[in-house]
């Protein structure tokens, strides 16, 4: 049955990442930064121009999300993951800047998986569609850059026991591939 989820603190340290394996349930605690398509495009430009970044990149975890607006009394609206493959082209430069972890949904490219191994990173999956639930683990949210992008602005979140699962670990483990292989009955009678 359900294994116990482990509490992990951000920023991520290499010793911790090395203990994570595909399929591990994790409760994330600490600071997580949000960025999706447009914010990544702008971060890439800043990094390439050698400019200062609007976030503490070293050991950072980036959450691919565009939250809904916060109603009165909540730090943020609903905030589930967006599909990660759209951010694949930005992963090399983000790793170069110091990022270590990503949270999203859906499979990554072969290149991203290779970089996760080589840079000792980790890709976490959050449940797509469970946005109201995930919002409950966000205790603080503030826009730190690209305010003009609305939902796509970059935010600094403080999360408490955010439920995620390790999809790609630094040893080449891939929960999507392993899980589907285990349960597919295609080609079997």
């Amino acid at each position: 049955m359900k294994t116990m989820a482990r509490r992990i603190e951000t920023p991520l340290r290499e010793e911790i990442i090395k203990t994570l394996h595909a399929g591990d349930e994790v409760l994330l605690n600490g600071i997580v930064y949000t960025a999706r398509d447009m914010a990544h495009a702008r971060l890439k430009t800043l990094i390439e121009q050698g400019k200062n970044l609007p976030f503490e990149a070293v050991g950072s975890v980036i959450y691919y999300v565009g939250p809904s607006p916060a109603p009165a009394g909540r730090p943020i609206g609903s905030a589930g993951p967006t599909t990660s493959y759209r951010m694949d082209p930005f992963v090399p430069v983000m790793f170069k800047a110091g990022m270590r972890g990503m949270i999203g949904k859906g499979p990554r490219s072969e290149e991203v998986k290779r970089l996760i191994r080589e840079s000792c990173g980790v890709y976490f999956g959050a449940t797509g569609g469970a946005a109201a639930l995930l919002s409950g683990s966000i205790i603080k949210a503030e826009v730190i850059a690209f305010d003009d992008l609305g939902t796509e602005a970059m935010r600094r979140l403080v999360v408490k026991d955010m439920p995620v699962i390790v999809i790609n670990d630094c040893y080449g483990g891939d929960l999507y591939q392993e899980g589907i292989k285990k349960y597919s009955t295609m080609g079997k009678s």
Partner: protein, 281 residues
């Protein structure tokens, strides 16, 4: 002739926008609960529990089920004995979307000028409006906020007539397999076959307006729906793509006559946050 102020359309769209995005339909809830019995993967089961819990939180706290509150697609079935007063239908619908998405704290996800100026319109307009004239003096307003993640995994294929039923099945399986965990499974698979290039996609889209478990009224098509759903669930993708038995909650097929030379097939993927609400005016 019955006169209807277009303000009534605006009001319905405003209310349906908020309701659709925050209150899950009972058929979806029941389907997710039932799928708990079928799911063997522990990780898959955990995801299904999360999705049910998520619906409860959204309803109680009046926040969106999913942060992607979609492209607002509105289907109007307009009775021919109605005369509208007070402006244009498209404007009335957009006004409703603007009000609902603002007052309901729903996400604004539409950018203007997709090629040249992809700047957010900041009110989720324009909506996509499909209008159909029907007998009578009522208007049925159906609203579907359609998420981008599942829309991105949808496909259309101009097949050969020789490809036949087996070809459509293969195309569906290829599409769902390639989508993997991207469109937030368990999904609902909408299939449109026949008509023209555009009409097949429309058929796939309107198939998703059905309630889960509702079969096509044509027996042969209904049998194909059952068979193809079974096949899709052999793919092993499972909830959130983590591996499992429940990849799709249902599969709907809508058909239309086709040209002797063409065989269009469209697959429109709907996600676990399947949101559809209807009101009759």
């Amino acid at each position: 002739m019955r006169e209807l102020d277009l303000y009534e359309i605006t009001r319905a769209v405003r209310e349906l926008s908020i309701e659709a995005n925050t209150v899950a339909n009972p058929d979806l809830r029941i389907a997710l609960e039932k799928s708990l019995d079928k799911e063997e993967s522990p990780a898959g089961k955990a995801v299904l529990h999360q999705l049910l819990q998520n619906q409860d939180i959204a309803r109680k706290e009046r926040i969106p089920i999913c942060q992607d509150t979609g492209f607002t697609v509105v289907f109007l079935r307009v009775g021919m004995d109605i005369r509208f007063t007070g402006g244009s239908i498209q404007d009335a619908v957009n006004e409703g979307v603007r009000a609902g998405y603002t007052e309901g704290f729903l996400r604004k996800s539409i950018v203007k000028d997709p090629l040249t100026h992809p700047v957010n319109t900041n009110d989720n307009t324009p909506a996509i409006v499909h209008t159909e004239l029907v007998p009578g003096d009522k208007v049925t307003v159906t609203l579907m906020p359609k998420g981008g993640g599942s829309e991105n995994m949808s496909r259309i294929k101009m097949m050969k007539p020789a490809d036949g039923t087996a070809g459509v099945k293969d195309f569906i399986l290829e599409t769902v397999q390639a989508a993997g965990g991207n469109p937030c499974p368990p999904v609902i698979v909408g299939v449109g076959v026949g008509g023209t290039f555009d009409y097949a996609a429309y058929l796939a889209k309107i198939s998703l307006l059905r309630k889960i478990g509702e079969r096509n009224s044509n027996q042969e098509i209904a049998d194909l729906e059952r068979e193809w759903l079974k096949e899709v669930n052999r793919l092993g993708i499972g909830p959130a793509g983590l591996g499992g038995r429940v990849t799709a909650l249902d599969l709907f097929v809508e058909v239309f006559p086709r040209h002797i030379a063409t065989f269009p097939a469209a697959v429109n993927i709907q996600c676990n946050a399947a949101r559809v609400k209807t009101r009759v005016l």
